[in-house]
Symmetry: C2
Subunit: 203 residues, 2 copies
DNA sequence: ACCTGAACACCGTTCAAGT
DNA sequence: ACCTGAACACCGTTCAAGT
């Protein structure tokens, strides 16, 4: 038995437990469902206990964003394998990206939302994002395309950003219900991908 | 003098005044700054007066979104003139779109945000959006490109959606601070536009 | 078609005082 | 590194009663 097994202390890991539970609430009920009162209630702790780990709700949500971003990054990164050709790699990575957004719309929105933007400059989130494995992979794939004379030799980082932009745009349009061709997501992605790749192709 | 000039009634047009003032608050201070208490205070009315026109805060925000969308639509539509060639029309329209987002980030976010999505299916916002003059113009420009054998003959509506997606993606990345090449917005837009147009070009 | 003024349940945050 | 319990200012919304 632990030292205070019979006390009312029950979290060896309240800090992580909080963001774990917050992610659950976010995913199933949306951002507005996350109240500190409900969150601490679910974990069986007092409200003030939360302030031992995060100085405010905003600080906690920052941690939620980071955790959510890591999930997206991992999901996308896992989708690509080395044995694919360049076009297929980009196709697969992009499709995984959009799939994640559609599977976890609330998390996706939170990651790129602006609720906490005022404080974004303070942290180095943005850099971290662009240094994310999945984004770096994309840049590397593009550079590989340059060497193999498949893709136009523009700035690879910027080309990756353009690809990111269309994936981000498609994801947002889809999950926010601005495109009502729900049955044609495949066609829409296919056309987007084809257009981008044709536009980037050498010759 | 009007019939109740000396009374405490001062709005012949409270309904429109509310969304006008809400747009101002949104633009300058962000969505979270819109509280019904502050809003009615600014207009010098009682809080309960608001409920004569909108059944809830959500209902009022819906009207704010519609007004904001109309501004975007008007702004973009005004940017294109008939005497331009097809590529330049698309370039100009797209640039105007992004400029609006950067000029009015809070309004842009509100328009496409999801805070009110639950109720979006009830209304016909989405249809209205796709029936917006600026979007229809884009579809027409693309159809023109088909006839003149300049653009690939895909579904024009879907091609327009792909273009919309990259504009939406770029706008969001820019206004939410996810791209830190602020000085290179022009280059980023240039490359995006060139890639899309090359990808859509016939031959 | 508004007004005043009070009330309700909910929120994030901050205490003082304990273990 | 937590707990209880109370308090604060703020919020959207709903009244009853007036004009």
């Amino acid at each position: 038995m632990s030292t205070h097994n019979n006390s009312s202390y029950h979290h060896g890991n309240l800090k992580e437990g909080l963001i774990e539970e917050a992610l659950k609430m976010l995913e199933s009920e949306g951002l507005s469902s996350i109240t500190l009162r409900e969150l601490t209630k679910r974990l069986g702790t007092s409200r003030s206990a939360l302030y031992r780990h995060y100085s405010s709700k905003e600080e906690l949500l920052k941690a939620v964003i980071q955790a959510g971003f890591k999930r997206l990054d991992t999901y996308v990164f896992a989708s690509i394998s080395e044995d694919l050709d360049i076009q297929t790699k980009i196709y697969t990575l992009g499709r995984a990206y959009i799939n994640f957004a559609m599977l976890h719309p609330n998390i996706y929105r939170m990651i790129f939302g602006n609720e906490l933007e005022k404080h974004r400059e303070e942290s180095c989130d943005i850099k971290e994002r662009e240094d994310a494995p999945s984004f770096h992979s994309l840049v590397d794939i593009i550079k590989d395309g340059h060497e193999k004379n498949i893709l136009k030799k523009e700035d690879a980082f910027m080309q990756a950003t353009v690809l990111w932009a269309i994936l981000h745009g498609l994801s947002n349009l889809l999950i926010d219900g601005h495109v009502h061709i729900a049955d044609n997501i495949d066609r829409l992605y296919e056309l987007s991908f084809k257009t981008m790749l044709d536009g980037m192709a050498l010759k």
